[in-house]
């Protein structure tokens, strides 16, 4: 089975969102490869030549060759392969073969067995069986394997359009070079959605904090009136309200923030599980340390805003009004 070789070029940013480079067995002429390598200089001067191709024994199995982690693949478990006898597999592959991370598999390439250990599970947003490995694990290009498709990251400053034009000119007919615009990991499972979800949950937690602050003050309006009636001056009144409110606010924040994150975690994992996906941690833990620090600061800000309003009101309101409050 032969498919038309495909060349895809993308800027470094966009390229990380490419879903996969599914390449089938085929023959890539040496001249084409040489031409490709020549053009690849535009892309490799600083970052090296990024190429990945997949080789498959059958129509159902795609194999992506060489380190294609730069394409944005995420590990669901385990790690990216390192040695010549290691592979990474998609959930589809593991399910189809009944293997797990850490197991060994025997790949038969052109009739020759090649034993490899599964080093990790790569998140592929489909049930397709996909292997990620190196030429060495498959016996090398000398075993008759050839890439039918390269993913190329362009060096910063390289114009994608002119690069593709030049590449197409060099490759000639029978080859296709294009910018990936089809389905991508980002398109299928957009992490910004998870981020939004996380922020929504965090916002709900923040509202909970604000609510607890306001309720704590509201419940004590009458008490404030009593304190003022017996001679408490405005400044101690304000300080007292801050103290009243700070404790429940901090307590609520201490509960709400982790609860919000845990809820988000479960929600995202359950959503993925409902469509048969196991999401890698990077898809779920979308809030980094800086995000969490910002959330804590935001929580403190919300608590402060929630405190200062009622506290200022309490300090300046009429005692008779407060005394009438129930």
């Amino acid at each position: 089975m032969t498919a038309a070789p495909v060349i895809r070029a993308a800027s470094a940013g966009a390229v990380r969102r490419v879903v996969q480079s599914a390449v089938v067995f085929g023959v890539l002429a040496a001249s084409s490869a040489a031409a490709l390598l020549g053009l690849a200089l535009f892309a490799t001067a600083s970052e090296g030549f990024y190429a990945s191709c997949a080789v498959t024994h059958c129509a159902d199995l795609a194999v992506t060759i060489n380190d294609s982690s730069w394409l944005g693949w995420n590990m669901t478990s385990g790690r990216w392969y390192r040695g010549p006898h290691e592979v990474d597999a998609s959930e589809g592959f593991l399910a189809a073969t009944g293997r797990a991370v850490g197991d060994s598999i025997t790949l038969t390439v052109n009739g020759k067995p090649a034993i490899a250990r599964i080093a990790g599970e790569v998140f592929v947003p489909s049930s397709a069986p996909v292997l990620f490995t190196s030429w060495q694990a498959l016996g090398g290009a000398a075993a008759g394997l050839a890439a039918s498709h390269y993913d190329i990251a362009l060096k910063p400053g390289t114009t994608m359009g002119s690069y593709i034009t030049a590449l197409t000119r060099v490759l000639g007919p029978g080859y296709q070079a294009y910018t990936p615009a089809g389905p991508s990991i980002a398109a299928e499972i957009d992490t910004s959605f998870f981020r939004l979800l996380a922020l929504l949950v965090a916002a709900l937690a923040a509202l909970g904090v604000l609510n607890s602050v306001l309720m704590a003050t509201r419940e004590r309006v009458h008490d404030l009136g009593v304190f003022k009636a017996v001679g408490m001056t405005p400044r101690p009144t304000l300080a007292m309200v801050v103290c009243w409110v700070a404790a429940p606010a901090i307590g609520a924040a201490a509960i709400a923030l982790p609860a919000g994150l845990i809820t988000q975690n479960f929600l995202v994992r359950d959503l993925a599980a409902s469509v048969g996906m196991v999401l890698p941690a990077s898809f779920v833990h979308v809030l980094g340390t800086a995000d969490l620090a910002l959330l804590v600061l935001a929580g403190l800000g919300i608590a402060a805003a929630g405190v200062l309003g009622p506290a200022t009101w309490a300090a300046t309101s009429k005692t008779t009004t407060a005394l009438r409050a129930e």
Partner: protein, 255 residues
């Protein structure tokens, strides 16, 4: 009657209201309309009138809980209507003791802590404040509740706690807003007698009440308000009750 100008005011008034007007809404009807009133030291003045006549407003103004729209209020020689919020709070903690119809005790504090609160705010040394508190609790017969919370007490007992709190800083004037309005009939007598005893001991008292019997029995002077104006200011006719209370051998002597 000209809003108290012809009433039995005194030159050495402890509390003096001069042409005091209070409007809650600009352009609205005044809650108090050019009221002038003097209360001398040691007097027990009952302020009476129908609902909305301005009784509580009058008391709140004397307590510094509210400010008049116009006019002047002087208590113990200090003009209070011009004081800042901080200074009026200091005035409240030292010069007046306030007793409310619904007690206004802090439910989260024990009886002793409720009574001690104004003393703590006034900066009274802890030991002295505790001694005063204990003395008041004993005098008012509520010392056994010192560590109880107000929620566990009867209406009469709560009002005694409120009275103790009002007295802890030895205020110049004790202001009572319907002090028997939320207690049963038997307790009305108790509270009335207690106030009478306090007055007999020299405590100046301004009492707002709907109860003409209470006013007649326990106050030496009755000021009647209607529509924010003083319509009468007379000495109590039933002096007998007052005289009897003044000679009460128990709480009057202790307090």
């Amino acid at each position: 009657m000209n809003n108290g100008a012809d009433g039995p005011g005194r030159h050495d008034a402890l509390v003096r209201l001069g042409e005091v007007t209070k409007r809650y809404a600009a352009g609205g009807a005044p809650a108090l309309d050019r009221v002038s009133l003097d209360v001398g030291p040691g007097e027990a003045v009952a302020v009476m009138g129908p609902s909305g006549s301005g009784k509580s407003t009058l008391l709140n103004l004397i307590a510094g809980l509210d400010k008049p729209t116009s006019g002047m209020i002087t208590v113990a020689g200090q003009r209070i209507d011009t004081l800042s919020e901080t200074k009026v709070a200091r005035y409240r903690r030292t010069q007046v003791g306030m007793i409310f119809q619904f007690f206004n005790l802090l439910e989260d504090l024990t009886v002793a802590d409720n009574v001690l609160l104004p003393a703590q705010l006034a900066g009274t040394p802890r030991r002295r404040a505790r001694a005063s508190c204990e003395q008041l609790l004993v005098s008012l017969g509520i010392d056994r509740y010192r560590n109880s919370y107000p929620g566990r007490l009867s209406g009469g007992e709560r009002q005694r706690v409120a009275i103790a709190r009002a007295l802890i800083n030895s205020p110049a004037v004790l202001l009572a807003d319907e002090p028997t309005g939320a207690v049963d009939t038997a307790t009305v007598e108790e509270i009335g007698q207690l106030l009478l005893d306090l007055n007999a001991a020299g405590q100046t008292l301004v009492l707002v009440t709907h109860n003409p019997d209470l006013a007649a029995k326990y106050a030496s002077r009755t000021v009647r308000l209607a529509d924010g104006r003083v319509i009468s200011d007379t000495a109590a006719t039933e002096a007998a009750g007052h005289d009897a209370a003044a000679s009460h051998p128990d709480t009057g002597a202790r307090l």
